[in-house]
Symmetry: C2
């Protein structure tokens, strides 16, 4: 190893340690910090994220990247290290263009805004949040303009969550979804609703946790390389491929929701656990959000909402939660594919979920392209809700205040959820060409072969490829929404007898 490479690797090791304690502190805050310990935790998070930023933007770090970019060093690197230098240099240059005092000001404002959002949501009073949201829009615009002065603001935002993604691609995909799926949804709405009264009941939380452990193992989560926790909202957090953590939120009166959250987060976790271990401490472990979401949603929806997934394990569900012994699998299947309009994204079924994302994407474009300001957003939100789902929120808590994302400036994040679903349609068709019927694999309990395929085609590559490259290499074509539209049509035609 050259002396320069050695120094660079030392830097990567240092960043890895910072990444790990940031994950550690965040994990603790979300899963177990007691009320009176919150302030200490925030102190530590603030201190170490400041230190990390200081190191990452120091002159010495800049020099390290310059050294590694020189052809005699760069050409000797393997692909993961080349990516690390390329992306690292880009991020370094971006960060260097942001004035330190502006950045600090924005971080402070985002903390204040997050708190204002919480209060506004609790009181269902958008007025309390509106000025902060406007500030976050303005800060984001300036922040992104500092980083990429020559690029369109919203495209830069999209690119930050999934490299290479822009609104031209998304417009094409989402428009197709909207044109085909809104009529499908309307047709379903003409059919009678399934009766779900039999799901009401009291489900022991400890038994739900045991069932979660069983389901996670079943889909391939390696429990020697991960743990589970509880938090207000389910999430996945990786410390490294040998330590990937998922949380869930349990409800005594609803066992189904937690089952699907477990499968969803399990999908994220299996991806992380499956990354080539040689990529540790390189940029190749940083997976784009759309590809990441494609895996959680593949497990949750493509597999988990398929009746054949449950055939080998439904008896087990009844062992953990005896109430399910009295619910026929068909009834369960109808309920987990129960399409209905609803206000809250995170509670939406597989089909209407798409509309929730399209709505947010269109609003983000309105903000950053058309200059729509914060005051106009609730009206626009409600109009679009009516247009897509046929319902109109009666208050802001069930409308624009429901998501945290915008309160801390995470604009451009939402579209990745739906892109993941679109990719899933493509992965499913390719998988069936190569492995045969997924229904058969699932009903035979051969889910390991599915995970094996995903591992070979997607998981082990981590973040080595952009979404577009992944799609091209796995499916041999460009991104298209047609497969997922075919999937939805076929599925709901069968369930609802359309």
């Amino acid at each position: 190893m050259s002396e320069k490479l050695e120094r660079f690797r030392e830097y990567l090791n240092q960043m890895e340690q910072y990444k790990q304690i940031m994950a550690q502190l965040e994990w603790d805050m979300q899963t177990q910090t007691p009320k009176k310990g919150y302030d200490y935790k925030i102190d530590a998070i603030t201190y170490f994220s400041g230190e990390r930023f200081r190191i990452a933007t120091s002159e010495e770090t800049g020099k390290l990247f310059e050294e590694m970019e020189a052809p005699e060093e760069y050409e000797a690197l393997d692909d993961a290290m080349k990516l690390t230098v390329r992306r690292g240099k880009r991020d370094y240059d971006r960060n260097k263009r942001v004035p330190a005092d502006f950045y600090e000001e924005m971080v402070r404002a985002s903390n204040v805004s997050g708190k204002a959002w919480e209060e506004a949501k609790q009181k269902s009073d958008y007025g309390l949040f509106c000025p902060h949201l406007q500030k976050m829009i303005d800060y984001t615009r300036r922040y992104v303009a500092y980083m990429e002065p020559d690029k369109e603001v919203y495209d830069t935002l999209l690119d930050m969550y999934e490299e290479g993604m822009d609104s031209a691609v998304i417009d094409r995909l989402f428009l197709q979804m909207k044109e085909e799926l809104v009529p499908l949804f309307r047709k379903i709405m003409e059919k009678p609703e399934p009766d779900n009264g039999c799901f009401a009941g009291d489900y022991d939380i400890n038994r739900q946790k045991e069932l979660q452990a069983y389901l996670l193992s079943y889909i391939g989560f390696d429990k020697e390389a991960g743990v589970t926790g509880e938090s207000e909202h389910p999430f996945t957090m990786e410390f490294g491929p040998g330590d990937v953590r998922v949380t869930n939120h349990f409800d005594r009166h609803d066992a189904v929701n937690a089952m699907f959250s477990a499968i969803h987060e399990g999908g994220h976790a299996i991806f992380e656990q499956g990354i080539n271990p040689a990529y540790v401490k390189t940029a190749a472990v940083d997976i784009g959000m759309a590809v990441h979401e494609s895996q959680s949603r593949f497990y949750e929806n493509i597999l988990g909402r398929n009746i054949n997934f449950w055939k080998p394990v439904y008896d087990k569900v009844g062992e953990y939660l005896p109430q399910f012994r009295d619910i026929p699998l068909d009834t369960f299947y109808r309920e987990i594919n129960h399409v209905r309009p609803s206000f809250i994204r995170t509670a939406a079924d597989e089909l209407t979920y798409c509309f929730h994302i399209i709505l947010r994407y269109e609003l983000e474009k309105a903000i950053f392209r058309d200059g729509v300001n914060a005051e106009e957003l609730p009206g626009l939100w409600n109009d679009k809700m009516e247009e897509l789902l046929g319902i109109r929120p009666q208050n802001d808590a069930e409308g624009i205040l429901q998501d945290m994302h915008w309160s801390d400036g995470s604009f451009g994040y939402f579209p990745t959820y739906l892109l993941g679903t679109i990719f899933d349609g493509m992965f499913l068709e390719t998988m069936e060409q190569e492995l045969g019927s997924v229904d058969t694999l699932l009903s035979d309990g051969r889910i390991g072969e599915i995970t094996g395929w995903l591992h070979e085609k997607i998981h082990k590559h981590g973040g080595m490829r952009t979404a577009a490259e992944t799609i091209r290499e796995v499916c041999g074509q460009e991104m298209t929404a047609e497969p997922i539209i075919r999937y939805f049509k076929k599925k709901y035609t069968a369930i609802y007898g359309l």
Copy 2:
């Protein structure tokens, strides 16, 4: 605030953040890190403890202490800050004498040794651990010799856990204990054993956890300023007075052990939660181990093994664990004071526990005074066990491999357990002089008054005083084992009709 003091406070804040993440990483490793995530955790612990050490021993830090030691700065400080400067300067000078690469090497070796110990214990194979233990002995000897080149090694170790403590004091106290308590133990052994068959059973772990939460609240643990976790061995860890954590280890077939571990760790935690909040980020939050242990053992033994403690709460125990409804309180009382020789320290009764500590103290002296090496220790251990308790371990898992302490170099720690018990005798006599009968307070459910007294006399002072100062100020006399010997004699005379 002077500019110098401001800089010094900035340094203290930085150290506080490092302290917090070290606690955070350690907590995680002990309570939830999955098997395959262990190495990352050790990497992070190694990295940040190295960073902390680097900062704590830097030239700039040395200058800060020099500045603060100057009379014009020092005299303006409050007592907690004076202590911080005094202790900090002593530690700085000690640490400066330790080469950084040696320290890092030792930390890494201690983690490896910890793992080797675990495996060795599991397999009851001392051979797997012996070379690591010898390494830890050698590292410790060198480490301490670097820090205090002119002081006796074992006295320095004792002083590190309880400032001002040395083997002259401990020899005197422990010899008295041995002379009085071994004959008492032999007398008890002539009496018939209580029958404890009724405790056999299957105790639901979740209900045991609920009982733990109840007991912790009852003795005064503030659950908004702490959380509970599970680990192989129970321990207490503080992040700050607003976040103090205790763990327990639950066993389906033994509910009593976990109850007493909860009360023990609860005692530690109440102490930490009770420290004057003004002491945050000063050395006054660092409590000597003997005084610390005096509080955990006061709750566990002096209070918890008193029949009157249980009178107001025994019905509750039966609510959580229905098996206890059929066990009369008197039978429970006999069982929790059931004196018998046993191999495992942590399972020992209140009386024979003293012998377990004396054994370890004598072995530590043999190592550091007489140069006994790791290979000779199991034989020595077994001989002393026979001398004190009349039994001889049949394998190393129930002998020298039982404790973790030596595996990470914590030599000099064990004696603090028994010192704590000795202090408890003194505290109990003083408390009764000032508050009246503890039996009455407990049976009336007025445990809050006991905690209140301990808070005023001990807890709120944190680590402001040495053990000797605490004893002198609380009890008005020097350390003596007589009160605890009187307590044991009185207690067992009544229980066993001696």
